[in-house]
Every structure is written in structure tokens, then in C-alpha cells.
Amino acid sequence: MAAEGVTEKRLILRGVFAGAVAGLLAFAFARVFAEPQIQQAINYESARDSAQAVLDKAAGIATPAAGPDIFSRTIQADVGIGVGMVLFGVAMGALFAVAYAICLGRTGRLRPRSLALLVAAGGFLGFYLVPFLKYPANPPSIGHEGTIRARSGLYVLMVVCSLVFLLGAVWLGRRLSARLGNWNAALLAGAAFVLAIGVVMLILPPLGHLGYNRATFGAFATETPQPLRNAQGTIVFPGFPADVLFSFRLYSVGAQLILWSAIGLIFAPMADRLLTPARAVRSDGALVRA
């Protein structure tokens, strides 16, 4: 076993490495599957803006100028998303390793490898999937400029609540397991998590109900663009394409699933080698398990 004081350093470096590789895999997936959807969403946005400009002109309203493009679409779709995904992987790998180091030996009879997968599953749920259930990922052209502060705040609140409640559920499960056994304790802790996060989800507003959205667009549950109508009320441009939205969200879940699975699966054998004491290398190089 590694000497005292070095283990955390080794665990964290391995977590960062696993995260970077996982981010690279998620990037490859994103480049192939997400980018076409993102491009379709941007095309929709441009076409919609043009249609809106024609309507505005007919109504005698000045069209607001579009913001400048700092980076070309090629840079954003080939390099920017790659750097973003890899650095996100590094960030999640570092936080994963911290959680792993703290859980080690404090969460019951788990082998190093099993614990790696469980912590990765917790990261997937807490950092992404549970917040996604309330505020799902949106492609470009969905999301109003005027609500970015409120939306960021709500999203971060969902992430913080998911993570804190997950930690609370682990703590509760540990406390109950002595009296109820692992199975019942885990079920109860899981139920408590669902209940607590469910209450938060019920209390937090749907994005369409934010004050700015109500006042500007009317009563809708989300910010997904509705069809454009002319002065007579006839639809002249369609709402956001449902298929693009579905594919984008499905691939978004897929990328996070790849990222967190890879973190867990890459980290697990490295942690196992680092932590399993009863292992020696024979003179001929073969591993022996005592």
C-alpha cells in the first residue's frame, strides 16, 4: 500500500487523468452526434431571426442588430467544444477523486473498484441527471437573453440541492444500516432523496413562468420558441423543431453517461492497483493475489 500522505495525491492525479480521457471520449461523441443538431438549431435561429426582421419591418419596428461573432462556427464546433468537454472532464475527475478519497473506508464494505463506480454514478446523478430532470439541456436558440441570471441561479441551485441531498442520503443510509441492514437502509435513503429533491422541483418555477417570460411571451412552461405569427395571427414561421430538441437532449444525456462511466471505469482499476494490499509481483512478473 502507498505510504501515508501520498495516497490522496495519487488518487487525485488518477482522477484528473481519468477525467481528461473521459472528456476526450465525450468530445468525440459530441463532435459526431451533437454538432449536427447544434448546427440545425443555429440554422433555425438564423431563419427565425430573418422572418422576425421581415415581420418587424412590416410593423414598422426597427430590428435590433445581431451580436458580433467572436469565434467562427468552425472554431466553436471543432475546437471550442473539445476544450470545453476535456476541461469539464478534468473538473469532474478532480471532484470525483476528492469524493472517492473521502468515501474510502467510510462507506462500508466496498472494494476499491465498486466504490469507484458508485461515486461516478453519484456524480452523474448529482451534477447532471437530476438537475436535467427539472431544467433539461437546451440547444442554441432556446433560452432568452433576459432570463440568463435567473436561469443560471436556478440551475446551480438544482445542482447544489442534488449533490447535498445525495450526500445526505449516503449519510442517512450509513446511519440506518446498523439497525435495518444494508438493503432496507439503502432503499429508505433513496426514498428520502427522491422525496427531498421532488419537493425542491415542485417549488422551483418552470423557466417559462419567470416574470420576464410571462410579460414578454405569455403563459408557456418553457422558453422553447413558439411559432411566429403575422399581424393577422397566421403562423408564418414554425416553432422550434421537436425532433432536433429531442435528439439534442438525448445526446446530451448520452455524453454525460459516457463521461461518468469512463471516469468510473478508468479510475477503478488504477485505484484497485493502488489500494489492494494483498498483491505482489512474482519474480517472473505475473501478478499474484494472496
Partner: protein, 71 residues
């Protein structure tokens, strides 16, 4: 034990003492949180570098795809 995969799993001992490992644990947490912030949130709701949009625009696609709110 009803465990069919041979040796009985030994309880993993506490190998990382939190006070002793504090430097690495806090450092790694900070690194993770700072990266998370710059990839997901900066130059949107809040901005460290004023009204500059370079980070936001560069990681724009990743920000959308990773589930963060965007303009």
C-alpha cells in the same frame, strides 16, 4: 458470507485522513469548481472579466451540450 466470488471482501480501511490530506483535497476541489464555473457559468449570469465574451463564445457549444443555461 453468501459471496460466491472467492475471498471475503475485506473492509477497505480509512486510507486518507482528511486533516492530513486537506491540502490536496481542498486544492483539487478548488480546481474542479473553478473549471466548472468558467466552462458553465462565467460571462453569462456573472462575469469575472467584465463584459468580455471570449470564454463564453469559445466553449459555447460545450456549455449548451453539458446542460448549462446559455443566452
Amino acid at each position: 458470507m453468501s459471496n460466491i466470488s472467492a475471498p471475503t471482501p475485506v473492509t477497505t480501511p480509512v486510507v486518507v485522513s482528511i486533516p492530513k490530506a486537506a491540502l490536496w483535497l481542498v486544492g483539487a476541489s478548488l480546481l474542479g469548481l473553478i473549471l466548472y464555473y468558467f466552462i458553465g457559468i462565467d460571462q453569462g449570469a456573472t462575469s469575472v472579466f467584465g463584459s468580455d465574451m471570449h470564454i463564453h463564445e469559445f466553449v459555447h457549444d460545450a456549455r449548451h451540450f453539458l446542460g448549462f443555461p446559455c443566452h
